[in-house]
C-alpha cells in the first residue's frame, strides 16, 4: 500500500468517526436540552402531523427563506438540491451492484453539479456585493464556500474534463467499507477532491453546518401550538415548582 493510499485510508476513517460521533453528540445535546416554554412562531400547526408537514415544507422547499429573500432562496436551493443529487449519484461508488435508481439518475446527478456550483457562486457573490451580508461574514463563512466550491470544481473536473480511474476509486471505497484497504489512484484532481471532502466531514459537527440537524430541533418550528389544551412542563421547571411547594 502506497503512502498516499495509507494517508487517505487513515483520513477517511478518522473523518468518518469524527463526523458520526461529533454529530451524534451534538444531536444528543439538542435532544436532551429541554424547551421549557411553548415558543412556536405562529401561526403554527395545532397538531403533531401539522408540525411534520411544517418541517417538511421547511426542509424540502425552504419555505421561510422563500418568504424572506428570493435571491438567497434561489441560490440556496440550487446549491442544496444540486448537492443532494450529486451526493445520491455518488452512491454508485459505495454500492456493488449499483442500485437501479442510482444508475438511472446518473445523468441528473452529473449535471446537477452545475446547479450546485452556480448556487454556491451566487451565495458567495452576495457576501461581497450586499453590504449587509458583507458585514456579517466572518472568514470562516468565506472558507466554507471556498471549500464547497473547491469540492464541486474538482469533482466536475473529473466528471467532465480529466477522468480519474473510477473503477479503482470505487474499489478503494468498497475496500474501506469492508476494512480491506485497496490502492487509490494518485492523480491530483482526485486527491484534492477527496482531501477537501475529508476536511468538510471533519468541520461539519463543529461549524455552522450544524444548521442541518439544527432545523429539526428549532422550537419555533417544531412545537405544536396547543399550550392552552396541554400543559407543557420541562423537568427543571417541574423541580422548581416542587421545590417551592415544599
Amino acid at each position: 500500500m502506497s503512502l498516499v493510499t495509507g494517508l487517505y485510508v487513515v483520513l477517511f476513517y478518522a473523518a468518518t468517526v469524527l463526523l458520526v460521533v461529533g454529530l451524534a453528540f451534538r444531536i444528543k445535546k439538542y435532544a436532551s436540552t429541554p424547551a421549557p416554554l411553548k415558543i412556536p412562531t405562529t401561526p403554527a400547526p395545532t397538531t403533531q402531523s401539522g408540525v411534520v408537514l411544517r418541517l417538511f415544507r421547511e426542509v424540502v422547499f425552504f419555505e421561510s427563506l422563500f418568504k424572506s429573500n428570493k435571491w438567497i432562496w434561489l441560490f440556496g436551493y440550487l446549491f442544496h438540491f444540486g448537492m443532494l443529487l450529486v451526493l445520491l449519484r455518488h452512491l454508485r461508488y459505495f454500492t456493488d451492484p449499483v442500485w437501479t435508481w442510482v444508475a438511472l439518475m446518473q445523468p441528473f446527478g452529473k449535471y446537477a453539479s452545475f446547479a450546485m456550483l452556480a448556487g454556491l457562486l451566487g451565495l458567495w457573490a452576495r457576501r461581497f456585493l450586499v453590504d449587509r451580508v458583507r458585514y456579517i461574514s466572518a472568514p470562516s463563512d468565506h472558507l466554507m464556500l471556498a471549500l464547497l466550491v473547491g469540492i464541486a470544481i474538482t469533482g466536475m473536473g473529473m466528471t467532465f474534463v480529466a477522468h480519474t480511474d473510477i473503477v479503482m476509486v470505487k474499489a478503494f471505497f468498497l475496500g474501506l467499507m469492508r476494512f480491506s484497504p485497496q490502492p487509490l489512484p494518485t492523480d491530483l484532481l482526485l486527491l484534492a477532491h477527496l482531501g477537501m471532502v475529508v476536511a468538510l466531514m471533519i468541520v461539519f459537527p463543529i461549524s455552522k453546518l450544524l444548521h442541518a440537524p439544527g432545523v429539526f430541533f428549532s422550537p419555533s418550528r417544531n412545537q405544536v401550538d396547543n399550550p392552552r389544551e396541554k400543559r407543557h412542563l420541562a423537568p427543571w421547571a417541574a423541580r422548581l415548582e416542587s421545590g417551592e411547594q415544599r
Binding site: 445535546k29 439538542y30 436540552t33 429541554p34 424547551a35 421549557p36 416554554l37 411553548k38 415558543i39 412562531t41 405562529t42 401561526p43 403554527a44 400547526p45 395545532t46 421547511e58 421561510s64 427563506l65 418568504k67 424572506s68 429573500n69 438567497i72 440556496g76 451565495l123 452576495r126 450586499v130 453590504d131 449587509r132 451580508v133 458585514y135 456579517i136 461574514s137 466572518a138 472568514p139 470562516s140 463563512d141 472558507l143 463543529i206 461549524s207 455552522k208 450544524l210 444548521h211 439544527g214 432545523v215 430541533f217 428549532s218 422550537p219 419555533s220 418550528r221 401550538d225 399550550p227 392552552r228 389544551e229 400543559r231 407543557h232 412542563l233 420541562a234 427543571w236 421547571a237 422548581l240
Partner: protein, 509 residues
Amino acid sequence: MADFEVPVLREYPIIPKLKEGTMAHSSPFVAKPIIQEPLGFPGELLDNWKEVAIEKMGELCGKYRSLQVYLDSCVKCGACTDKCHYYLGTTDPKNMPVARQDLLRKVYRRYFTFAGKYFPKLVGAADLTEEVLDDWYSYFHQCSQCRRCSVFCPYGIDTAEISMAAREIMDAVGKGQKYCNEIIGKVYKIGNNLGLPEPALRDTLEGIEEDVEDDTGVKVRYPLDVKGADVLLVTPSADFFAEPHVDGLIGYGKVFHEAGISWTFSSKASEAANFGMFIGSYENMRRVSMRIREAALELGVKRIVFGECGHAWRVAYSFLNTLAGPFDFLDPRYPVPQHICEVTNGLIKEGKLKFDKSLNDDMKLTFHDSCNVARASRMGDKPGGQFVIPREIIKSCCNYFYDMPADTIHESTYCCGGGGGLLTDDLMELRVKGAMPRMQALKTVVEEHGVTNLVAICAICKSQFAKTLPYYGFDMNSIVSLHQLVSNAIILSDAPKDDDENDDDGDDA
C-alpha cells in the same frame, strides 16, 4: 421637536445602506441596587462578572434548547438582515438580527466551541470584555423581542430568545435595566406596573362607572375584587387611565354588561403584562404569573380573560398554563385563558351584541397586528385566528376598514417600536426610529384610502403610537383601542330610549 434625526417616510419603503455605530450611544438607564435586589439579582456589576457571565451562559444553554440550537445553527445567509424595524429605522448594522445575535454568539463561540477556542479570528469569536458587555447592554436593549426575524429565518432562529438570554446574563452579573426591573418590583409590591394601589384603583373604576352612566344612561359596572364572579378580567394597568387604553376598558365592561356575564377585576392581579418575559427570567415570569392563579382561586371565578395587551397575551396564551397551571379549578368549557377579543367575537357570532356601525363613521380604520399576538400566540381554534378575530370585530362595528400592505401585517407585522421592555423615555430616539416601518405602512393607507385611525390591541403599542405618531406628522389621537370601537357602537339594550330609532329589538311588548 427631537434632538435626533427623525427618519423620513418615502414614496416606497427601501432597504437602507448600513451606517456603523449610529445607535451605539443608545442604552437605557441601569438599575440601581434597590431595584435589582428584590428580584434576586446582584445590586451592581460584580467584580468577577466575566466568570459569572460565562457560567450563566453555559447554564442557559443547558436549560433552553432554543438558545443552544440558535447559537449553533446560524449560517449567516442574510435572510433576516432587512427584517428588523430597528435596522430599517436606524441603519445601524448591529440592529440586523443576525448581527445582534452575533454579539452573544461570538462570546459563546469563544468559550464553548472548539473552533472558537482555537481559531477565534477565523470564526469571528471574541473574548468577553467590558466593550462587549457595553455592546450587549446597548443592543440587547434595541430588540423588542417581536419575532419578525424568526418568521423569515430558514431555521426559525428567534432573536427574542437570544435577547432574553443576554438580558438574563446581564441581570445575573448585576447590570440590569432600570425600566423593566423597577416595574417587576412594583408588581410584587403593589400588584401592577404603574403602582396603583387598591384604593386608587377602586376610585378610578367608580369614576369610570359615573362617566359611562353620564354618557349612556346605563349603570355599567366596573367591579373590583368581587368574589364569586364568573370572569376574572386581567388587563394591563394602563387600561385604567391612559388614553386611548381606558376607552378600551370601558368597552370591555359594556360587552360583559350587555352579555349579562358577571365579572371582576382583581386588585391583586391588576396587571396583565409580565415583564419577567422581557428580562428572560423564568423565575420572575412565574412569580408574576402566580398572582393571577392566586387571584382566580381567591375570587372563586370560573374563567380568566385577558384585556388588550400584546406581550401579556403571549405569556397568557403560551406560557400561563406552564407557569401557573394546571387550571383544573376553572370551567373546562372555556379555554384558559381567553382573550377579550375571543369573548367579544364569540358573543357577536351568537348574536348577543348589536351595533350601530354608523357611530364609528367618523373614522376610517386600519389594524396594527401587535407583534406578540401575531407571532407568539393565537386566538380562537384555528391557526391565524389572531389575525381574523380582531378584524371581524372591527368590521362588525365599523363601516370603514382598510388593511395596510400585506408585507406589514399578519405574521409579517412590524413591531410598534416600543415593545419588549423598551417603552421608556430614556430610549425615545430608538422608539421613534423603530416606529418608522409601521409609519411608512400607515402612510400608504392614509394616502390610498384616507385612513384616519390606527387600531391596536396592545397597551404598549397604544402608548408608543400616541408618543411617536406626531414625529411622523400624524395626530397622536389617531391611535384607538379596539374595544373603544366596540364601546362606541354597541347598543346597550337597557339604555333609556330617547327616541324610537334604536327600538328594533322587539322588546317593546
